[in-house]
Symmetry: C3
Subunit: 344 residues, 3 copies
């Protein structure tokens, strides 16, 4: 029943996962390889591992979430952890308890790994200074959503296993699978980049994988991205544009982002209808992309706004795979951080 002893984890030097920007490419490869092994080990849903046996994982979410919370909960339970879930509603958080005070309390009750989501960008960065365990950022404000970026990369690796230009088997020798990358691949990220922690984290991992990344949205929602592109993007392949057809042209993958209706109020967007007409990813618009273009969305979707229903459910859609792969990726993150130990 327990397969924990069969999982030998590689060395890992990070105690926390606050964002993906500090992960090197070899570390990203390691993480995905570990996720592969967990996916295999738990292919039978009845399997429970004991990798985190006796480890108290607390999921502390200050923002609404279904998929991320459930995904972490399942991942931690599959690893044999004891999981406690604390959400802002129904907790002392509504009494105005400070994040610091809450974290100290959770540590004193035995929490060793803390998965947290917070509306304030940067909030998880405050925690390691006062918490002896491991911190995993489950999304902070507009800033970062590292496990989303990791599962997106992992999903693209599964969907695009062969390097560009390779013919299956022709050039691959032993160990060639380690050479996976997105070099020569074009990935367009379309939508409200300004407010998107998903986009910010994905920029790091996708460009680290060698992809040619295009960020696309109304210019009001591209602030900062255009500037970064103009400075050369640290040598990465990165373009920011409001021209959706240019962004999608010959793309291997299109990542759509959620448009939040609340943004209308701020005058950043004209109307959902106009947004959908101009930037919504429809089958027609995708004709400019590669024939077998892949489509991604971090969810929850506004179908008919940023993505057409027939695209979301179409043959190139990876949306279900993204959610599914989130569990193996989060298992890998939890297991590696635990192996790195609570104290550096």
């Amino acid at each position: 029943m327990s397969a924990g002893s069969a999982i030998d984890l590689p060395t890992w030097r990070h105690r926390h996962l606050l964002d993906v920007d500090r992960l090197t490419w070899p570390e990203l490869e390691t993480l995905m390889a570990v996720a592969d092994r967990f996916a295999t080990a738990t292919a039978d849903p009845a399997t429970k591992l004991d990798v985190l046996r006796g480890v108290n994982v607390t999921i502390l979410f200050y923002e609404a979430s279904t998929r991320t919370r459930v995904s972490f909960e399942i991942a931690a339970k599959k690893l044999g952890a004891d999981v406690v879930s604390v959400t802002a509603t129904g907790s002392s958080v509504t009494k105005g308890e400070s994040l610091i005070d809450t974290v100290r309390t959770l540590e004193a009750t035995g929490t060793r790994m803390l998965v947290m989501r917070h509306a304030t960008s940067g909030a998880p960065y405050l925690v390691p200074a006062i918490f002896g365990g491991n911190v995993i950022n489950g999304g902070d404000g507009w800033h970062a959503h590292p496990t989303q970026a990791l599962l997106d990369l992992y999903t693209l690796r599964e969907a695009l296993p062969a390097p560009v230009g390779s013919e299956a088997g022709s050039k691959a020798g032993p160990g060639a699978e380690a050479a996976w990358s997105l070099r020569g691949r074009k990935v367009a990220i379309v939508g409200d980049l300004l407010h998107s922690r998903v986009a910010r984290s994905n920029l790091w991992t996708l460009t680290a994988a060698g992809a040619d990344v295009w960020a696309c949205g109304p210019s009001t929602l591209l602030r900062g991205f255009e500037a970064w592109a103009a400075t050369g993007a640290g040598g990465r392949h990165f373009t920011a544009t409001s021209d959706v057809d240019a962004a999608i042209r010959d793309a291997d993958a299109v990542m759509t982002l959620r448009i939040q209706k609340e943004r209308m109020a701020g005058g950043l967007l004209p109307s959902l209808r106009e947004y959908a007409a101009t930037y919504g990813i429809t089958r027609e618009r995708l004709r400019g992309a590669k024939p077998d273009v892949l489509v991604m969305h971090p969810g929850p979707m506004n179908e008919g706004v940023e993505i057409a229903p027939d695209v979301a459910e179409g043959p190139g859609s990876l949306i279900t795979s993204q959610v599914h792969n989130g569990i193996a990726i989060r298992m890998a993150v939890l297991a590696l951080l635990d192996a790195a130990g609570p104290v550096a």
Copy 2:
């Protein structure tokens, strides 16, 4: 500790439980017989079965609930399932995520059985088309609450084991217990039938069991029921009336329904006080029923409105048994649907 191997489940042809209207009488008998076996197998509360070992059951409730959610949670855990609970508050549902999107997400995280409650009548019927697992309706709008009707039937079977006219032991030969029915029994359902999913589901099962069912409430809250009675109720024994004394006269059981204060606003009810005076089930009013009349309520109760406290706690009250039996019935439902398999 595990008694799972001892439970051989009968064949079951339904993948979902959306309402009770598609269950034949033999199927209702089967379901209750399986519930009997689970009730016996878990008489020791420390017993855990492994019937649903490795099965991920998600309880997705878009409406407030204590008893139904807790009952499903306990039932699934007793069967050895992995249970995740998602409620509208604190989940992405507050971001306006669509039901369809949420269900797809849950399926991708590994959900194989989905118990759902939704304020919109018919919502669970949308799910099987996009979900590969089993769907159990935990209550949808005014429409249906199938497990409530099943546990009510099961509770009446326990309280009224002997057929009408039988003397205990006199006519019963081997296998006679299979002949249980409510033939010759009168059951009155009193209250706000119009808005009651409990009443709608109970109509099917009680009349399928052969009972003579009387629906009773102010005529504003009987719309549809009177029309159905007038057309002959498909050959079932069914009467709709606003005359509470006629409904209760010689009844074997009276099922009271919750009056929701919100209905006052719509002008459908005069006042709680007037409703209580006219339709509230008091000990006095019950004098017209059989001497040992049984009283039921699906909860939560407004004591002093639709039911008097001394009736709710009186000798004929089955209210506690209803809640208690809900666990065995829900275990039976979960186990049978799982045995029917996720794909037809």
Copy 3:
């Protein structure tokens, strides 16, 4: 893995823990000794006991809470119980279901131990009459918070193990550890005593332990306490004063209480700033206390109001120990009440 058989529990005569006022000093000693054993038995976080195997513990909270709910949840799980959590939000409680109805429902679903928090003082006292299991008060209105008082006493016993005047080892013979008390110790409780269930419960246990207790706050927040002190406090060592320097002078421990901003509206407090200036526990103000004065807070804290951040995190702070010790104390409470049995 299971160490349950190693824990022999002493006889316990109480079926419920509604407040600490009915516990004798020997009972308090017993409870702390049992907590010691659970703390030792679960020093390895992977250890699970089976003391409450098959016991359904329901945590029913009608008020926001993080630490108390999580602490009870962890304590019950460490004892091997099946734990269900019901909070007011997302439950039928929002439909106006009565406490009595809810408790009856939970009992019928198999709940054997009920941990409850309620905004109404005295609410848990209504439950034993209609519930066959054990009731633990997790905080009721302004009235009582017995497990908080128990963990506070336990934390002081850990921090001040030697009786006053003893030199370590000099006078202690065999069994001397049983003679622990707070005789000769001064404990100041500073803050909003009027609204504090924590203070009310602590008064009993601290004075039962022999401490000289000083309650201190603005006179508007001392109502009742001054009167009790004036009548001689039932022979206990108790003083009520608005003079914070007198209260703190030579204190061995200072327990600070949360100031709730909501109280401002009622005119009971001038302003948070003025409160902080007059009664806030700062390092400067603590100079009047014993040099190694201990500082406690039940949380959640308003740092900078009732307690200065450097005091909360200072060398004498027991705040983290309080939270940590809450688990062993709650394990002891749950185990002892269960051993006392559901029926007297």
